[in-house]
């Protein structure tokens, strides 16, 4: 069976069954759906409908559906339950990282009450321990559930441990090997355990080439480590190299996708994570700030040009090529800044350093600028425009391309140096400042040549 497609029609059918409380027909439908599918359907349900469906699911599936919900839908859905129910119905069956995620978006009174009401005190402590890590660090991303085996155990003991933990750790890919001090010393794959004799000692077969990260490693480093080494799970250690959690591939996949979307939206001038399916108001709120940046930039441009009104009146043809100058300044600036932002994200920039990068970007800009200026001069000849105007425009074009490349290269690097997200330097911000600088340059050159 391939992935199920949730259509408008199938959602409508389910809503009808829910509204008529037709449990008999609903149960087999829900049976066939995966948690992620039911979560998708929840997007279109009101609270009562969602709570009714949840009441028909078995405990683990109910929790899996909750985990798959989008952040805002999740909080809305949980409003259908009191804190005691949340603890006993959901948190009891939930992996620690998913539970901590939810607590992070609740108020502290509810959080405490939920934690207090979890029966398994160990589980409650695990969840609470994740709350102390700063957002977007390995500590905040990891789950406490994992299979830990001791160096001096036999394979039989490992299998017993896996059996004991089987309920809590849904997905087992690797067992982590620790020494007597609980320090991480290696790993052993499930395949290896399966193919080894029961009496074999772990220490004689485990792999001591283990990659781990510490709790304070930033999320992007975790993602790039897991991607570089193709890891299905990454063990996380504390400052004393003691094993404290693991991050799995699905978390990283979500993380990589979210980060890419954030950068993409920044580049396109949208300030919040917003989707085409979100409301008109949310879409407006996400875009208006950047438009106002553009508006202010436009007004500033009018003031810059205002200073050259006399020249413009004398050479109206200068106005004809303003769009060209602006468009090129914008394009070059965005090209340079986005290359920088991607380079910074991939950590590929540190090696060459600021001056190397700048030199290279200038070389690229010089070639592109010369080609474009030459093309423009050629067009000038053929079109029969005023020679002086065309020389002005061509010279200004070269200068503006170089300037935009410098701005586009330096601004992201400077932001990064000051620990500000360099992606801010892409999109409307860089375009607007390049417009301004470009026009100023254009009129100064025009002034010098045409005066």
């Amino acid at each position: 069976m391939s992935a199920i497609e949730i259509t408008k029609e199938s959602v409508k059918e389910i809503v009808d069954l829910v509204d008529t409380k037709n449990q008999k027909e609903l149960l087999p439908v829900l049976e066939k759906l995966f948690p992620a599918d039911i979560a998708e359907i929840f997007d279109d349900l009101n609270l009562d409908q969602a709570v009714y469906i949840a009441s028909l699911l078995d405990p683990q599936k109910k929790v899996d559906v909750l985990t798959e919900l989008e952040a805002d839908v999740k909080l809305k859905f949980l409003k259908g339950f009191d804190n005691k129910e949340i603890a006993s119905t959901f948190f009891a069956y939930m992996e620690s990282d998913d539970a901590a995620d939810i607590l992070n978006s609740l108020d502290s009174i509810s959080s405490k009450e939920i934690l207090r009401n979890i029966e398994d005190k160990e589980h409650s402590k695990n969840i609470a321990s994740l709350l102390k890590f700063p957002e977007n660090t390995a500590g905040a991303l990891m789950a406490k559930e994992l299979i830990k085996v001791k160096q001096n155990w036999t394979i039989k003991q490992c299998t017993d441990e896996i059996r004991k933990q089987a309920e809590d750790v849904a997905q087992v890919y690797t067992c982590y090997v620790v020494d007597e001090f609980d320090e991480l010393v290696g790993w052993i794959s499930l395949k290896r355990i399966l193919l080894s004799k029961e009496s074999t000692k772990v220490e004689s077969i485990y792999n001591d080439n283990v990659i781990s990260e510490s709790t304070y490693t930033p999320g992007e480093e975790v993602a790039s480590t897991m991607q570089k080494y193709d890891l299905v799970a990454l063990p996380i250690v504390d400052a004393f190299n003691r094993l404290v959690g693991r991050i799995t591939f699905d978390d990283v996949l979500d993380y990589v996708k979210d980060e890419a979307e954030k950068d993409y939206q920044m580049l396109s001038g949208i300030s919040e994570s917003v989707e085409s399916t979100d409301s008109v108001l949310l879409n407006t709120r996400a875009r208006l700030p950047w438009l106002i940046v553009g508006l202010v930039g436009g007004v500033a441009s009018s003031l810059v040009i205002g200073n050259f009104e006399a020249e413009l009146a004398q050479n109206v043809q200068l106005a004809l090529f303003m769009p060209l100058i602006m468009a090129m300044a914008g394009n070059v600036g965005v090209q340079s800044s986005s290359i920088m932002v991607q380079g910074l994200a991939n950590n590929s920039i540190t090696n060459e350093g600021l001056w190397g990068k700048l030199g290279k970007e200038l070389a690229v800009a010089l070639i592109n600028g010369l080609v474009c200026s030459a093309l423009l001069m050629g067009y000038g000849f053929l079109s029969g425009n005023s020679q002086d105007i065309m020389i002005t425009v061509s010279l200004a074009l070269l200068a503006v391309i170089l300037l935009a490349a410098i701005v586009g290269t330096v601004v992201p690097l400077v932001l990064d140096r000051f620990k500000i997200d360099p992606a801010l330097a892409t999109g409307p911000f860089i375009t607007t400042s390049n417009d301004l600088l470009g026009l100023l340059m254009y009129f100064l050159i025009g002034n010098a040549i045409l005066a």
Copy 2:
């Protein structure tokens, strides 16, 4: 041990050891490095140096390094070996999908010679069978290596099968269950096998809720299915539901990242996959085409404005606000088109349909347009600019924002309908056409009001 950082200095040390053929000191260094690290170092080596390092690695590690190399470095490195060596040294130990990837970028004569020289004929056939699938489909992304067990087997038989395949299938996460016709009927996790008795029958414990995709499913659908259902591996079936391969999470992670980078670069006007570390020439070639699009657009703008030269000469102040109109048209167009492109990529658009989307984007544009126009009128009052000019600019601004939203929404949808990558509609292309339309609108409104 946390991930190893490859620095300029550590590469230099290794290069020195290679150049002096200091095998004694080099071996323990290479021992400690993971294949992905050695692959990173290869970026900075010439062919002789890389071949020397490869000669010191054991067969499997040598292959793993090759697999981790970037596409261009990989081909350069393989030039150090003849086709016979490539077959016996590399392809013999390589998973089918990685091998097929390489063959796809070689000429057909070399490909055939390599395939002929692989000793294991089954393996050679497997690789060849992957070459027939169109690029970017599940068939082209999958590997043939997987663990397949029969419904009527015992757990003991499964373990034996895993033991038999252990060499070929490096990573085992799940065993796929097939019936007598080789049709995929379910799956069973390694954990389940480990915890079951040897005499247990597969059919009594396997999970029949299996998600699969067919060989012709596009890559983006594979990625979104695996992400939605958090799958570590996805089985691929042929038209008769027979199990023919599997795609693993690491392939999808790479795929998601590559696609995101491609979209990002398209949005920023860079036409090839290029990194800040690539050469000046490659960087120039990737950017110049888009700059020429911008240049042509700029010249077209000058022709549009040229038609209004008389009006401009009379109202020079009109020129002052050209940048504002252009910037806003560009910003709104990119916002709308990038939201569309993301929505299409996430498959969240099909539900509402073209008209619903367009209506929503227009509503957002109307609110943003009214707010921006009002702000601009306010500024006009305070600044003491000519009333007529400010009314013209404000009206034109509203019209241009609405127009840019329509263009930004419709163009990606139309491209998508014609099976063209909608991401083409972001970046310089949309900005340039919006500039043109926006300026035309501006001068037409100016002409009507000021004439």
